[in-house]
């Protein structure tokens, strides 16, 4: 998968996630950031949902990790939001399968990762047993 381009970072927050309250922090912070750069309410809700999918996966499959939320810009005034989810868990065995709808090793819906990809404009995932899982997703205004 293609590495995403680096963008100018305007603001950044790191949230450690290991229990479901941290997920709440991720959701609220994402919504707030999305609102700040002018996403409408439905979009704020969607982006927060995508962030929540990623932090939920960290808690469920890797126990702990962190989420970095950034407001970014490109071409002067185009603004966006970047979600980076990273853990040092045991990684995803088969990324292609994990990206398919309804695939789950956790006995749940298996719609999280494919939804994040659909909701966001740019998506990158990398996973290995040594380094855990990294997901980067961006949404532009």
């Amino acid at each position: 998968m293609k590495i995403l381009a680096m963008n100018k970072i305007i603001e950044e927050t790191t949230i450690d996630v290991c229990e479901s309250v941290d997920n709440a922090v991720v959701i609220y912070t994402t919504r707030q950031m999305a609102a700040q750069i002018g996403f409408n309410e439905a979009q704020q809700f969607l982006i927060a949902t995508a962030a929540s999918e990623l932090s939920t996966n960290i808690i469920r499959y890797a126990k702990k990790g962190f989420v970095i939320l950034r407001t970014i810009s490109k071409n002067h005034d185009s603004r966006g939001i970047e979600i980076i989810a990273k853990d040092n868990g045991s990684g995803i065995e088969d990324i292609d399968r994990a990206m398919q709808e309804h695939f789950s090793t956790g006995n749940s819906l298996g719609l999280g990762l494919p939804s994040v990809k659909r909701i966001m404009d740019e998506f990158f995932i990398e996973s290995s047993p040594e380094n855990g899982t990294l997901v980067i997703a961006k949404k532009w205004r």
Binding site: T14, D16, S20, V21, D22, N23, A24, V25, I27, Y28, R31, E41, A42, Q44, F45, L46, A48, T49, S52, E53, T56, N88, E101, S108, L109, L111, G112, P114, S115, R118, I119, E130, N131
Partner: protein, 271 residues
């Protein structure tokens, strides 16, 4: 200033002595190590931070001084820049003489005039206060989340459960328990789950809602999910979630009139 002069002054930069004084006096620890992670420089703030003179630590391995969570693991950002990485910032915890300090450190490669990597540099910021604040926030959030889910008997055999904030598995289980108990205790026939106040409907939340609706149905009770705002509706579609035959409404008011219809109640206005 002419171009020649400007070029000269920027290549000479400032006097080496002054540069060293500045580095020494920067009020946060700055350190440099050689490729074997042996300390070749530590400024005054750094020496104060670890409580030793530079002479005592010169040539010592940095990991034996800092004893941090990242030390001697693949997480060590100093090793990463020595191995060719550009620049890293990470949170970490150092352990110096029984003191545990939360820090954030930034590393970059140390290069000679020819651009060869000859070690690494790092500066350290004390993160203790930030970590404390975050911990407090975390505890507060926990309390808010633990406020139990209320069930409100709205009408004969009609119960409303408003869902506010963030739903996690524990909370979903709590909601399920509350609902099932309410059904048996009040012989409710319609339960309205109002999700107008939830912060996000991700697939896990949707899955919980589906399960709750199924369980109520098994107990001979109808479940209506209300408070589906345009944002929630869009999220559910984008997530590809199939709510099956669960009744949904955009407002609590609509859900209530559906409940009345289900129970064959009629609301008549007195002329």
């Amino acid at each position: 200033m002419n171009a020649e002069k400007q070029k000269n002054s920027s290549s000479n930069q400032i006097d080496g002595n002054l540069a060293l004084q500045i580095l020494q006096q920067i009020p946060t620890p700055v350190m440099a190590v050689d490729p074997n992670l042996q300390i070749i420089f530590m400024n005054q703030a750094g020496c104060r931070f670890i409580g030793k003179n530079f002479e005592e630590i010169k040539g010592t391995h940095c990991y034996s001084i800092f004893n941090s969570t990242h030390c001697q693991t693949s997480d060590c950002r100093m090793k990463k820049v020595i191995d060719g990485g550009e620049r890293f910032t990470a949170r970490n915890q150092v352990n110096i003489d029984d003191r545990v300090i939360h820090i954030e450190y930034t590393t970059a490669p140390l290069k000679d005039d020819n651009g060869n990597i000859i070690g690494g540099i790092e500066y350290i910021l004390d993160n203790t206060e930030r970590v404390r604040q975050e911990q407090k926030l975390r505890e507060q959030n926990k309390i808010i989340m633990e406020i139990s889910t209320p069930a409100i008997k709205l009408w004969d055999r009609i119960v409303v459960i408003p869902v506010v904030g963030v739903i996690d598995s524990m909370r979903a289980q709590q909601m399920m328990d509350t609902m099932l108990k309410e059904i048996t205790q009040t012989s409710a026939k319609v339960i309205i789950l109002d999700i107008h106040g939830v912060a996000a409907v991700d697939t896990a939340v949707a899955n919980h809602l589906i399960k709750i609706a199924k369980a109520t149905k098994l107990m001979g009770c109808r479940c209506i999910i209300s408070g589906i705002s345009p944002a929630v509706a869009q999220a559910i579609v984008q997530l590809g979630i199939d709510l099956g035959d669960i009744n949904t409404n955009s407002t609590l008011e609509d859900a209530l009139s559906d409940a009345f219809a289900l129970l064959k109640f009629e609301v008549i206005s007195k002329k």
